[in-house]
Amino acid sequence: MKENLRTLLGAGWLGWQMEANWTDPFLFMIYSVAKPVSAALILVFMYIVILGGVATESTAFAYIFLGNAFFIYVGQVLFGVTWVIHEDREHFQTLKLIYISPISFYYYIIGRAGSKILIATVAVVVTLLFGIFILGIPVDAFTMDWALLVLCLTVGMACLVSIGIALAGITFMTAKHSGGINEGIAGLFYVFCGVVFPITQLPAWGQSLGYAIPVTYWLEAMRKALLPAQQLEGTGLHGIENFWLVALLAVSALFFYFLSILIFRLGDYLARRAGKIDMTTAY
């Protein structure tokens, strides 16, 4: 246990250095914030172009903005976790060295994911502050549901990291396509999980798909935590109570945790057998 904790911390520190030490902290902060705020502003301008301002139908605006803000975690964690395999194997060519060191590779990946979560958290917080103070989203620290926020954030992160590790297991076997797989999954989530529009806008089969993905419930729970008194109707999830949202999230997190171990170990075994652990495909 102590060894695994040390691996977690060491990998987290390594990930942070790799992400951040290519420039000075100020430039890194701008870099970390410019992308998510720009992505949010694209939606803001789309909203303004059609509805004339963010004050019009403000509940709908808050729904879109908050969904987009928390989706930063999905993109960062899914892409980040799987990219570790590709980056270590092909770019820095250190994967084989980490393999032969006396640590758990599974915990190493989780540690690397930790640095991604940290960076994503900064981006999410800045985006939320921008939404609250500049765009007037009525999030109030005294009325928001802190318990639901902390609980769902924790369970949601566990679920996202588990999905990321499952994808990392697949990445063991793939060449350059891994980026495409990650982006594809994140893209599917963006369309089908009610991130920037209610899933009731989707055709029936799309809605069914959305209901099967835990990210849908996670985003709804996060919105409910931040704005408990201002919920958009007609989202397809409006009537679900907080308890069931958390329960659904917890069950899916547990499911993806076991699935991630299974896929990761299978990918690891097959990659070793096929001699792909130190594969380079001319990234």
């Binding site: 790799m18 290519w22 420039t23 870099y31 410019a34 992308k35 998510p36 720009s38 992505a39 502003l41 694209i42 939606l43 301008f45 789309m46 909203y47 303004i48 172009v49 059609i50 509805l51 004339g52 019009t56 139908e57 709908a60 879109i64 770019h91 820095f92 350059k176 396509h177 495409g180 797989i181 982006e183 594809g184 893209g187 599917l188 963006y190 369309v191 991130v195 920037v196 529009f197 209610p198 806008q201 989707l202 001319a282 990234y283």
Partner: protein
């Protein structure tokens, strides 16, 4: 002179070849390159349709056009991504895998290599962009009202020349980068999508931002293409007259190619002096 010209043409063809052939060699990439932009496009289409259901004003009747704008913008992201990752960052990749030094000792001009990358990239990306437009139009039922075809062709070609000229300029600037190359390209995605109006008409960013963003050729190119493909709303959503945008694109094309040539020479010399042309894993 003739021999040198032929040598460079051969180099250009040789560098373009793997991009043209490689584009069809790995079929799964065609799937990812076509479908991935479509997912974002689909999300934004649903956003517009949702906002259209809430709207009361005149914009409500233009939702169909906005859907078309998004599909066109989504297809153009393929070119911007290609310029960032396969032009600007290419010399960084080449340095990392050890090809850059081979380019340096070969007898052709480095501009021929960049030209080959651009020509190959244009072909590779056009296949994907057209696929995105066709699939998007079929799924979301967009109808076009086209303007003069000669203008369409001219705008498209000048946009690509200016854009890839900018890519060649970036490639020389990126040549000495380490990990910054990766992060810089990553940084130039969403902020550029925003200021260049990839998913909404750039006019709505305001005149100052729109004029400033016009240094990126895709801003004016996309605005002109939208005006020429959706003539009914050109007067409402267009930023500048198409003729003005055509002239600006022609100026940008010449400017970027000129700057790329000089920048390449300067950065190469700088790299030789500081010994950074072969430095890996920075």
């Amino acid at each position: 002179m003739k021999e040198y010209l032929l040598l460079n043409l051969r180099a250009l063809k040789g560098r373009a070849y793997p991009r043209v052939v490689g584009g069809t060699r790995e079929l799964s990439w065609i799937f990812f390159d076509t479908i991935l932009p479509l997912l974002t496009v689909a999300a934004y289409v649903f956003v517009y349709q949702y906002l259209g259901s809430l709207a009361q004003g005149p914009q409500k009747e233009y939702i169909g056009q906005f859907v078309g704008y998004v599909i066109l913008g989504g297809a153009m992201t393929a070119y911007w991504m290609n310029v960032l990752w396969s032009m600007a960052a290419q010399f960084y990749w080449e340095k990392e895998i050890g090809n850059l030094q081979l380019y340096m000792i070969a007898p052709m001009s480095r501009m021929a290599v960049l030209g080959g990358m651009a020509v190959g990239g244009m072909f590779y990306t056009t296949v994907r962009a057209v696929s995105t437009i066709v699939i998007g139009v079929l799924i979301f039922g967009v109808t076009f009202s086209l303007g003069p075809p000669i203008y369409l062709i001219l705008v498209f070609l000048l946009t690509l020349i200016a854009l890839y000229g900018m890519g060649m300029l970036f490639a020389s600037l990126y040549m000495l980068y380490g990990r910054e190359a990766w992060h810089t390209s990553s940084l130039l995605t969403e902020p550029i999508y925003l200021v260049s109006g990839f998913y909404f008409p750039v006019k709505y960013m305001g005149a100052i931002v729109a004029v400033s963003a016009s240094i990126i050729p895709i801003t004016l190119g996309l605005d002109a293409l939208r005006q020429l493909m959706f003539t009914e709303t050109a007067g409402i959503h267009g930023f500048l007259p198409v003729e003005v945008e055509l002239v600006a694109l022609a100026v940008l094309s010449v400017l970027f190619l000129f700057l790329a040539r000089h920048s390449l020479r300067f950065m190469e010399n700088l790299g030789r002096k500081t010994g950074r042309l072969t430095m890996r894993w920075q």
